[in-house]
C-alpha cells in the first residue's frame, strides 16, 4: 500500500484560510488504511478546521465527503457537484489522488491534506515501514526477497558498506542493515552463492530517471 500522513493542522489552516467554502475529501483506500483519509479522519479534520475558524471569526463552511479512491476518474466524478459548490477541495488522498482531482476539476483549487510517504507494509496497528521505491526493475530474486534499493540507506547493490555495525545501519541504531538481513536470509535458504554474482550498474531509467513513467497495456486499452 501507499502510506500517507496527514499534514499538521497548522499547515492545513494556513493553506485553506482563504477559501470560505471548503470540501474535505477523503480517500477510502490507502489513505484510510493509513488513518489519514478515512471518513473518521475527514470528520476529525473538518471539526478541527471549523473550530480553528470559529476562533478566528471567519467560519465559512466546511463540508465532508469521501470516495473509494481518488486515483480513479469514475469515483471522483461521483462528487463533482460537491466539488462545484465549494471554493477549494482539501484532498486527503496521496499525491496521485490530489493530481487526478486537479486534472479532472481543472478550474478548482486543489489542496493536499496529506504527505505521501512511501510504498510499505503494516508492521502492527499504527506502525508502517517502507519496502519498495518502485524502481521498475525488481531484483528481489537475487537478494533473498529483501530490497537493497528501498531499504539500504545508500541503495547499494553490492553491499554491505563499512557502516554496517552489528546488523544496524550507521545512520541510526533503529535502522536494520538490509545487507546483513540479506546475507542472513540467503544463508538460511542456502543461496549465499548468489552474492558471488556482481550486480552490474543499475539502469535507473525505469525508476523514473528517464522522465515521468507511464504504463500502457495494449491488450487492455480501448
Amino acid at each position: 500500500m501507499i502510506t500517507v500522513e496527514q499534514k499538521k493542522i497548522e499547515e492545513i489552516n494556513t493553506m485553506t484560510k482563504d477559501y470560505s467554502c471548503l470540501l474535505v475529501l477523503g480517500c477510502e483506500m490507502c489513505a484510510a488504511i493509513s488513518f489519514a483519509g478515512g471518513k473518521r479522519q475527514v470528520a476529525e479534520l473538518a471539526a478541527a478546521i471549523r473550530l480553528s475558524r470559529k476562533g478566528s471569526g471567519e467560519e465559512g463552511e466546511v463540508f465532508e465527503e469521501s470516495v473509494a479512491r481518488q486515483c480513479e476518474p469514475e469515483f471522483i466524478d461521483l462528487v463533482k457537484d460537491k466539488v462545484a459548490d465549494c471554493d477549494a477541495v482539501l484532498s486527503l488522498a496521496c499525491g496521485a489522488g490530489v493530481q487526478l482531482m486537479a486534472e479532472r476539476f481543472s478550474d478548482k483549487v486543489l489542496l493536499p491534506g496529506c504527505n505521501t510517504t512511501f510504498l510499505g507494509v503494516t508492521e502492527e496497528l499504527g506502525v508502517w515501514s517502507e519496502r519498495c521505491v518502485g524502481c521498475g526493475s525488481c531484483v528481489l530474486d537475487k537478494t533473498a526477497g529483501l530490497c537493497p534499493i528501498a531499504r539500504c540507506s545508500k541503495q547499494l547493490l553490492n553491499g554491505p558498506c563499512g557502516g554496517s555495525m552489528k546488523g544496524k545501519c550507521e545512520i541510526s541504531k533503529d535502522v536494520d542493515c538490509v545487507w546483513q538481513l540479506i546475507i542472513d536470509r540467503l544463508s538460511r535458504v542456502n543461496q549465499l552463492d548468489k552474492l558471488e554474482e556482481i550486480f552490474p550498474v543499475k539502469d535507473w531509467t525505469p525508476a523514473g530517471h528517464g522522465g515521468p513513467r507511464k504504463l500502457v497495456r495494449e491488450d487492455l486499452k480501448s
Partner: protein, 685 residues
Amino acid sequence: MRKSNKSSANYPPCKYACPILTDVREYVQLIAERKFTDAFASIRRQNPLPRVCGRICTHPCETACKRGQVEEPIAIASLKRFAADGLWADQYKAALAIESTGHKVAIVGSGPAGLAVAHDLALLGHSVTIFEALPVAGGMLRVGVPEYRLPKDVVAAEIEAIVALGVEVKTGVKIGKDIKLSKLSEQGFQAVFLAIGAHKDRKLGIAGEDELEGVVSAVSFLRAVNLGESPQVGKQVAVVGGGNTAIDSARSLLRMGAKVVSVVYRRSKEEMPAAEEEIEEAIHEGVKMAYLTSPVKIFGEDGRVSALKCIKNELGKPDAGGRRRPEPVSGSEFSLDVDMVVCAVGQAPESSLFADELKLSETGERIYVEASGSLATSLPAIFAGGDAVTGPATAIEAIAAGKQAAVSIDLYLRSKELPSVEKDKREETQALPSTVIERTRSFSRPSKINLSVDDRLKGFDEVEACLSEDRATQEALRCLHCYLGAKVDEERCISCLTCVRACPLGVPTVSKMGEISIDSFACQACGICVLECPVQAIDIDLDSRAKIFKQMETAMAGVQGQRPLIVGFFDFHGNFGAGDIESLRRDYPNIVPVMVFGVRRIDTVDIFKAFALGADGVFIARCPSDNDPFLEITDRIDRRVSYAGRLLEACGKKKEQLDICNMPKEGLVEKEWVDALIGKIKGMS
C-alpha cells in the same frame, strides 16, 4: 462462520431460554444504568408475577447466560427481584385496553397460569373471573411454596395488582364439583381456562402407606402449613422424593419442630430434580440426605408410623428419560426410625373432576389439549394449561401457558378461530471461542446474603435478602451484552484490518479476500473497533455514535448560558448512576454529563463535537480499574486525550480544556477535582 449482519439468531441466550421470552438483557442493562423504574417496567410488561419469579423461578436464563462460560452467570433472578421489590415498582401502570370487549371469561384456578391469563385478558379488555377452590388465591405459589422462599404478602401483592385491573377472584368455589363446567356458559362465560394445577400427590405404593397415622402427602402437608393450620409433625421424619416439593417439605418440617429430617431419594444427588441451591440450603439447614435409597415398607406401632424400611440402590442403565435407573441391591435393606413419612414422589392434576365432560390425556391423569399449541381442550371455548396439562412444572412455564392461553382465548372470542402456535426452537447457547473466554475479565457474582440457620429455623422468615442498589448495579454491569456489540457495514468496510488488530478479545476475523466477520455473540461491545475504524464502518447497537451525539446535543441545549460550560463523558462501568449524576447536576449546573457505554470509545470527533456545541471544557471520567472490563485498552484513553489535546491547541484552544478524571473507587467524581478544572478553565479566559 456466523456473519455479523446476516444472522437471524440474534436473541440473547437469556431471552431465548425464558418460556415467556423476557427481555433479560434489556432490564439488566437498565439496572446497570440505575434506571430502576424502567427496568421494572421492562420486566412487568412481559411478566405479571415478577416478584414471584424473582424469588422462585428456576431461571433457565441463568443456565443459558454467556457469562456462565467465563465464570458464573449473571444473577438474573436476584436482579429481577431487586427491580420488582423496590418502591419504584409501585409507579408502574399497566397499559389497560381503553374499551371493554364485553366478553366474559372464567378462569379455573388462581395459580401462576390462571393469574397470567387473567392479567393478559384483562389488559385486552375482557371481563375475567377467577374461581379458586381453596380459601385463598395463588395456587401452589400460595399453598405449595413455603413462605421462607416466597412470602404470602408477596403473592398477595401480585394478585392485588391483577385484581386492580378489574379481575374478580372468587375463592372457595370448586368448579367441577360446586359448579359443573357446563354450567359456566349458562352464567354468561364465553370462554373458560382450566388451570387447576397438580395438587394431588402420587402414592408410594408400599405397605403401611394407607393405614398408618403419620403418613402424609407433601402437597397436603405444605398446604396445611401455608394455610396456617399448624399440622402436627413428627420428631424424626422421612421425606420420600427428590423434587422441589420434597425439599420444601423437609425444610418446612425443620421449621415446624422436627428434630431429624431425612430425604429419601432413589437416585444420586446428580439426578435429583430439585434445584441444586435448594438442596444445598436444605443440607445447610440440617436436612439429611439418603441418596440411592428406596422405601420398601412402612412399619407401625399402635397404628402410628414407627419405622421406614428402605433398600439401597445402585444406578443401572439410563431409562427413557435419560436418567440412570435405580436398581435395588439385594440384601441392603435397612430401617430408618421415623414417626412420620412425607410422600413427595410427584403430583398429578385433579382431572377426574372433569372426566365426564372433557377428554383427558392417555394416562387419564391430565387434561387433554390439542397439539396445535392453542391450548384448546376437546370442548369448544374451553382451554387448559399449566400443570393441569403438563404435569408438575415450573412457575414460569405455567405463566407461559397462561400467556399463550390469553392469546388463544382473545382470538377465539373475537373470531371463533384458534391460533396454530409454532413450537419455539430452543437452541443451546453458542459456545464462546476459548480465546474469548481467556481474555474476558472475570468478575465474581455477588454471594447471597441469607439469614443464619438459627434465625431461619425459628420460623418462616424469608431466607434470602434482596440485593442492595449498589450490589445490583454492580452485578448488572457483569452482563456481556450478547448481540449488542459491533456490527460491520459491509458496504463501507475497506478490509483495513484495524478491528482485527484492535479488538482486545480477538473476535473479528478476516477471510483471504478481505471479508471481515465479527461474531456478534462473542463481541462484548467494548467499542474500540468503533473508535478506531478509519471509515466509520462499525457501530454498536448498545450505544451508537448517533445516540451519543443526540444525548450531547439535547443536554447542551438545556444549559447554554452557564459558564464555564463543561462536558463530562461518564462511563456506565464507573458504577455510579442516576442519583449521583443528579447530585453532580445540582452542584454544578454548568457541567453536562454524557453517559456512554465505555468512555474508551470517545474519540476526537466526539470531543470536538462538544467544543463545537459551545463547551469551554471537556473531561473524560474514567472508571477505576477495578470495574474496567477491558483493562488492556484503557491506556488508549490517555493516548486519545493527548492526541486530541495537541490538535485542540493547534486550533486555538488550550490543552487544559481537555482532561481525564480518574474516578475514585466509589461514588462520584471528586469535588476538588471539578473545582480545580473549573478554576483552570476560568483562569484562561
